[in-house]
Symmetry: C2
Amino acid sequence: MTDPLTNLVKTYHELNAAVVHELDEQPSALEFMRHVAVNRPFVVRQAIRDWPAFQKWDANYLRQVMGREEVKVAITPLGNADAVVENKKDDTLVFVEPHEIFEPFGEFLDSIQRSSFCTTLTGGHVKYAQTQNDNLRHEYASLSPDVPTDVPFARIALGQKADAINLWIGDDRSTTALHKDNYENIYCQVRGEKDFVLLSPVEMPCVNEQVLARGRYVPVPSAGAATTSDDGGDCDDSGIGELEVQLDVDAERVPVATWDPDEPEKRTTAWSHLAKPLRVTLREGDMLYLPCFWYHKVNQRVGDEGFVCAVNYWYDCSFEGSSFASHSFARDVYLAEQRRPEYPELKVGGETEGA
Amino acid sequence: MTDPLTNLVKTYHELNAAVVHELDEQPSALEFMRHVAVNRPFVVRQAIRDWPAFQKWDANYLRQVMGREEVKVAITPLGNADAVVENKKDDTLVFVEPHEIFEPFGEFLDSIQRSSFCTTLTGGHVKYAQTQNDNLRHEYASLSPDVPTDVPFARIALGQKADAINLWIGDDRSTTALHKDNYENIYCQVRGEKDFVLLSPVEMPCVNEQVLARGRYVPVPSAGAATTSDDGGDCDDSGIGELEVQLDVDAERVPVATWDPDEPEKRTTAWSHLAKPLRVTLREGDMLYLPCFWYHKVNQRVGDEGFVCAVNYWYDCSFEGSSFASHSFARDVYLAEQRRPEYPELKVGGETEGA
Ligand SMILES: O=C(O)CCC(=O)C(=O)O
Ligand SMILES: O=C(O)CCC(=O)C(=O)O
């Protein structure tokens, strides 16, 4: 018999096309619910063209509306906020969160645009406004009138209001590493483009989840870095100084997907080769439904004005039914599989045979 | 670690209430889709009160409309059509289908009513009109104008017409053994009552599915039975003679649930005690949504006129998404678990330790 986990992933792929469904227009609540029911993503091209945000959000306008309001910015050496980093000292993996600073929105946007336009950029870390904490209705409240308060088909179908509305602003260099969320996610691209790589929850055995220690990027103190930025001329972004990973020994270790669908030969499990990542590029105006528990990795490319900007709506998942229980069952079997020693073949009666 | 199958069933029960949800009125298509999405049953009391069938179907009317049309009737000694029977000779289990005859509808209904009203019934086998083959639009086409051609909320939600509409007529003695179907099932009680016992697909490890030989009840030839029925007076129903199980050695063996939630200590698996059967009684006018892949066992009680009558609508299941793959994964793990020998504990390095 093929091993059950192999069968699981293969059966899933036999029953589900390896493409992201494209809809001509936003679905009705009922049509949406059909996608929720089968936990399958779709994309709607040009769905948000009538949003004021889509029409108005250029750099000037954003600067004007946000003024000198302070926003929280993630800073990383490589655009790797919330990502797996190899600890060179002892060859272990660490789940590393970004260094975070508050800075006036205008200065943040300056850095982003500079990173896109300065061919001679020096000293630059990667900044990403990515505080997935309902930031559009808090930090960025001045911009929130430009987007709908909810996605009507999702609100009606799910019988709930958005739990969070998040704004994301960054440049080409930021990548969101493969991970999953407990949210039904309606992701809307306002400026620039994003490449999503999607894996269904059933592909858990492929993503090599490991329980990792946590760390955070922190400025290297000895470097004597200035804490103000942008003081070295237009193409120098060296305000923070060097960043290094500081382990948080007290933090609870977290399970993290360590397989990268873009480097499929690295950090594999026995099942990684069975994964069939779905790839979809969101262009300005597009909307993606990213269902609960799906793994996603995201790359981005700036638009005409040198920044990427997106807004997404998170709705709570339902834990009713069998999906959640089935996914955690697959995880249990996967973990048991890892722990099971390779027993020699036993004869009936319990006598040991040559392995 | 608790074994994964135990965790699966327990997690499912932690996340899902062990009751059949009661709705005040028929759901909208969207509300229905929410139940389909989580694959959870519900009941709507008095949902079909405005059906002509509900208002008109008494014995006289049925006899009048159906006249002398021949209908297919299942005949069993114990009311056990499509059921597991113990083969006394060699202690094996057999999946036994009923003996089937065609008889004029009026005579069939006579037997049913007689079985309910004759306290001195002799020689009676149990009859059940239960040909789950869209019979209402075929054998019973003359009655079909009395029921809706579809259940609107289901047709709209699922985006398809009913695949089959089935009529069921029987008496107290018929039981439908625990089994599952690949259908979304809208079950409507017209006369009498039915007790449904429901188990979710996740409870597969509890139901002791076994791959059984098939058989069929056939009249014992030597008994010299008359093939006409009803010739022995009002309370004698001995037309068929004795029935015995004939094995069908050529038929492919079928997987059959052998655990009976009403005899929970018999034919158990290691997981049967974790089952939480949902019980719901349908009374005249009630409607049950019985989701795809749910195990169900059904008992019945006749109404005032001595018969039970129900109509159900079957819609094809969706095999998209992960439900089907996850259920067959659980089955694979269950089967592997059955085959896995009880290995002695091994020390790291492979040395054998006392078991
Ligand atoms: O846009 C990104 O960088 C990541 C988006 C994401 O992870 C999410 O919406 O959950
Ligand atoms: O009514 C019965 O006896 C059984 C019903 C059933 O099994 C079904 O509707 O699938």
